[in-house]
C-alpha cells in the first residue's frame, strides 16, 4: 500500500471518528500561537497559568498553550516530542540535561535575540552564565538555587548544637549528629551515602568536580572511599536514619526523614525549603554543606530551572516576547515569586522582598549569606550523567546494606562510571 493511499484511508476514518470524538483542539481566537511546556506541581501550575493569562491580556493576538506534567513524565514526553520534531516552542530545561539537549541540536541559541526582543539589561551576569553551552546561550535562567542542609531548629536547639551551620566542618556535623541523637532520641541526620549531590560537594572541597572539563569522571576512588567511610562511621554509631529507608532511591519528598520526624538534618536544594517547611511543624533553618577544614569551597550557585527555545519553534518572535516578559514584567514576576528559585533580576527581587513568607525569608537570607562561600559553577553534566548517577546509587546501596566493602565498591563505581561515559560519547 502506498503511503498516499494509506493516509487517505486513514484520513477518511479520521473524519468519521472526529465527528464523534470531540477532538481536544482549543478554540483559537488568536492568529498566532506558542506552546510552553514545563514540569510542575499544583502550586507552580497555578502560578504559570496565571502568568499566561497576564501575557494574553497584553498580547491578545498570541494564544499561549500551557502544557504541564510532573518531573518523571516530563522527560518521557519531551523525548517523544523531540523525536517527532514536535517540541513545544518554549520548554523548561534542567541543568543536568542541558548538554544532552543543546549539544544534540534540539535547542536554538538566544544570543541574537538579546537586546532585540529579549531584554536582559537588568540581569545578574553570574546566573545568566549557567545557560551557556560552548560559548552560546541556549537557556535562560528563571531561578537560582544552591545546595542546602535543612535543619530542624527545635531539635538542634534542644541538643545544644552551637556550631554556626554556615561555616561548620564535617567534624562539627558529626558532633551535631552525636548530640542530637543522644539528647533528643531523634537520629541526627539522613544517611547521605547515596546522595551524589553531596558527594559532589565533598569532591569539590578536594579540588575535583563530578566531571572533568573533558567530560570524564572527576571523582577519584579516594574521594568516594573517604566519603562513604565518613557516613559508615556515623551509621555504625547509630546516628543516622535506618539503612532500610536510605536505600529507597528517589523516594517521594514527603517520605524524607525530617518530615517523618525520624531525623533532624538532611540535604536538599535551597528552593525546596519552602516545600519542606509546609510539611513540618518544627521550624526549618538552613545550613551549608559542611566544609572541609582548609579545603576549597564545595558548594555552588546554579540555575534551578531554565527556559529554552526549541528547534521546532515556529513563531520565534512571539516566543521571545513571552520569554522576555517572563523575567521582566512586574506583574508576571510578582505572580511567579520564588517558586522556581531566586530570580536573577535584582529589580524583581527587590519588588518581591516586601511580601516574603517566613520560610521564603529563611531561603533568601540563606542565599545571601552563602554568596562569598561558594565556588565556580561546574560545567553542565556530560552525556551519560543519568546513568552514572544511577550506578553510584546502586553500588552505594551495597555499601549501606553492608554487602560490599567500601574500598572495593568505590573502585567498582569509578570503573563503571568511566565505562558509562565512554559508551555515551
Amino acid at each position: 500500500m502506498s503511503k498516499f493511499t494509506r493516509r487517505s484511508v486513514l484520513a477518511g476514518m479520521g473524519v468519521a471518528a472526529a465527528a464523534t470524538a470531540l477532538p481536544a483542539m482549543p478554540a483559537l481566537a488568536a492568529d498566532r500561537s506558542i506552546r510552553h511546556f514545563w514540569w510542575g506541581n499544583p502550586e507552580r501550575d497555578k502560578r504559570t497559568f496565571a502568568v499566561i493569562d497576564v501575557f494574553q491580556k497584553h498580547h491578545p493576538e498570541i494564544a499561549v498553550s500551557g502544557e504541564t506534567v510532573g518531573w518523571g513524565d516530563y522527560w518521557t514526553k519531551m523525548a517523544t516530542q523531540t523525536a517527532g520534531r514536535n517540541m513545544a516552542d518554549l520548554v523548561q530545561m534542567d541543568y543536568s540535561l542541558l548538554f544532552e539537549y543543546a549539544r544534540r541540536g534540539a535547542l536554538k541559541t538566544l544570543d541574537e535575540h538579546i537586546g532585540n526582543g529579549l531584554d536582559l539589561s537588568n540581569f545578574d551576569k553570574g546566573p545568566l552564565s549557567g545557560g551557556y553551552v560552548d560559548g552560546k546561550l541556549y537557556a535562560l535562567n528563571i531561578g537560582s538555587n544552591s545546595q542546602v542542609m535543612p535543619l530542624n531548629a527545635r531539635l538542634l536547639e534542644e541538643a545544644g548544637v552551637t556550631a554556626d551551620p554556615i561555616v561548620w566542618t564535617w567534624d562539627d556535623y558529626a558532633d551535631a549528629c552525636e548530640k542530637i541523637t543522644t539528647k533528643t532520641g531523634v537520629k541526627g541526620s539522613d544517611d547521605l551515602s547515596l546522595t551524589t549531590e553531596c558527594q559532589e560537594v565533598w569532591s569539590r572541597q578536594n579540588g575535583r568536580g563530578f566531571y572533568n572539563a573533558d567530560g570524564t569522571l572527576g571523582f577519584t576512588v579516594e574521594d568516594v572511599t573517604d566519603y562513604w567511610n565518613y557516613w559508615a562511621k556515623l551509621r555504625e554509631a547509630g546516628l543516622l536514619r535506618s539503612k532500610d529507608k536510605t536505600v529507597i532511591l528517589d523516594a517521594p519528598f514527603a517520605e524524607g526523614g525530617m518530615i517523618m520526624g525520624e531525623t533532624a538534618m538532611s540535604m536538599f536544594w535551597s528552593n525546596q525549603i519552602v516545600g519542606l517547611q509546609a510539611l513540618m511543624k518544627d521550624p526549618v533553618a538552613a545550613g551549608m554543606v559542611p566544609h572541609k577544614a582548609g579545603g576549597k569551597p564545595g558548594q555552588f550557585i546554579k540555575p534551578s530551572m531554565f527556559m529554552s527555545l526549541t528547534r521546532d519553534a515556529k513563531d520565534v518572535e512571539a516566543a521571545i516576547m513571552y520569554m522576555s516578559d517572563w523575567v521582566n514584567d512586574p506583574e508576571a514576576t510578582a505572580i511567579l515569586g520564588l517558586e522556581r528559585g531566586i530570580p536573577a533580576n535584582p529589580n524583581v527581587r527587590a519588588a518581591l522582598a516586601a511580601d516574603f513568607t517566613p520560610p521564603e525569608k529563611v531561603s533568601v537570607a540563606y542565599f545571601d549569606s552563602i554568596q562569598d562561600k561558594v565556588g565556580d559553577l561546574p560545567l553542565p553534566a556530560p552525556k551519560g550523567h543519568n546513568e552514572v548517577r544511577d550506578a553510584y546509587m546502586r553500588i552505594g546501596t551495597d555499601v549501606v546494606l553492608g554487602n560490599k566493602a567500601v574500598a572495593e565498591a568505590a573502585e567498582e563505581f569509578v570503573q563503571t562510571g568511566t565505562d558509562i561515559l565512554e559508551r555515551a560519547k
Binding site: 494509506r6 541540536g105 534540539a106 529507597i248 544511577d390 546501596t397
Partner: protein, 297 residues
C-alpha cells in the same frame, strides 16, 4: 466450491477492522522498532546505522541485561502459577452457589482496580519495610522479619505478593468460563455418585481448558512484560541493587532515561523472541489438553 468462497470472503469481511488497524497503525511502528534496533538512536539526532552492535553488546558486555533476565524469569516462574491457582480456586469457591457471590466478587476485584498506582507504591512500603505492618503482625507470633522491600534478597517477593493479590482479572475470566459449563453435567455426576474431586478432573478441568489456556498464555506474556508495579515500587530504578530490575523497567530506562532508543528496541526484540518461544510451546502443548466444543468430532 461456491460455499468455500463465501466462507472465505466472510472471514476477511469480519477481519477488515483488524486488517486496517494492523497494517495501517500497528505494523509500521513495529517494523520501525525493528529497524531502530540496528541503529544508535538518541531521539534527538537522526538514527545512525550500527549493524548488530546493539545485539552484540547486549549479549557480551551488558551485565545488567543478564541481571534483568534473571529477575524477570524468577518473577514469571513464581507469579504466573501462584496467581493462576489463586484465581481458579477463588473462582470455583465463588461459583458454587453462595448467595453473596456478587458482593465477594466485587471485593476480590478491588486490589486489581488500584492497579499500579502511586497509592500502591506508598502502601507497599508501609507494609513491607522493617517497621511495617507485615512485620508488626509477624512480631505477635514471635517472628522478626527482614525489611522485605529494601533487602535485595526478598524485595522481588513483594512484587510476587502484589501479583498474587491482584488476581481479579484471571478470576473474572475463570468465572465467565465456569458459567459456560452446563449444570446438568454436574447433576448427572451427582446422581451417579461421582466424588467431587473426580467431577473436578473429569468435568471442570476439560471444559475449562480453553479458558485455562487463555489465562496461562496471557499471564505469561503479561508477566514477562511486567512494568508498572516494579517501576512504581522501585521509583523507576529497579532498586535495591537491581533486585527489582525487571526487563521492561531496564528497557524503559535505557530508552528514555539514558537516551538509547536503538538499544532499547533491540532489547524489545529479544524479549519478543523469548515470549514467542514460550507462547509457541503453550500452543503446541495445547493440542494435547485443550479441546474445543466446535472442533469435536
Amino acid at each position: 466450491m461456491k460455499r468455500f468462497f463465501l466462507r472465505n470472503s466472510s472471514g476477511y469481511v469480519f477481519l477488515t477492522p483488524w486488517f486496517i488497524g494492523f497494517f495501517c497503525l500497528a505494523l509500521g511502528p513495529i517494523l520501525a522498532s525493528l529497524y531502530l534496533s540496528f541503529n544508535r538512536y538518541d531521539m534527538v539526532a537522526d538514527p545512525r546505522f550500527v549493524g548488530f552492535d546493539n545485539y552484540i553488546y547486549m549479549f557480551t558486555r551488558d551485565r545488567r541485561f543478564w541481571k534483568s533476565l534473571e529477575v524477570t524469569f524468577t518473577y514469571v516462574a513464581l507469579a504466573v502459577p501462584a496467581r493462576l491457582i489463586m484465581a481458579l480456586t477463588v473462582a470455583m469457591v465463588l461459583d458454587k452457589g453462595l448467595r453473596t457471590i456478587s458482593f465477594y466478587r466485587a471485593i476480590f476485584y478491588l486490589p486489581s482496580l488500584l492497579g499500579a498506582s502511586i497509592a500502591i507504591a506508598i502502601l507497599w512500603r508501609q507494609l513491607f519495610l522493617a517497621d511495617g505492618v507485615v512485620n508488626k503482625v509477624l512480631a505477635t507470633v514471635g517472628f522478626t522479619g527482614p525489611s522485605w522491600i529494601t533487602d535485595p534478597k526478598t524485595s522481588l517477593y513483594t512484587l510476587v505478593v502484589l501479583a498474587i493479590w491482584q488476581f481479579g482479572a484471571p478470576m473474572l475470566i475463570f468465572l465467565a468460563g465456569l458459567r459456560g459449563i452446563p449444570r446438568d453435567l454436574y447433576e448427572a455426576a451427582e446422581i451417579d455418585g461421582t466424588p467431587k474431586w473426580r467431577q473436578f478432573t473429569r468435568i471442570t478441568l476439560p471444559l475449562l481448558a480453553p479458558v485455562i489456556f487463555f489465562n496461562l498464555v496471557l499471564q505469561t506474556i503479561d508477566s514477562f512484560k511486567v512494568f508498572s508495579p516494579a517501576f512504581i515500587i522501585s521509583n523507576g530504578t529497579g532498586a535495591p541493587s537491581d533486585s527489582m530490575l525487571v526487563y521492561t523497567v531496564f528497557l524503559f530506562n535505557e530508552a528514555f532515561k539514558f537516551f538509547r532508543m536503538g538499544y532499547a528496541s533491540a532489547l524489545a526484540w529479544v524479549l519478543l523472541v523469548i515470549i514467542a518461544f514460550f507462547t509457541a510451546l503453550a500452543f503446541l502443548s495445547s493440542r494435547y489438553w485443550v479441546h474445543y466444543e466446535n472442533e469435536r468430532d
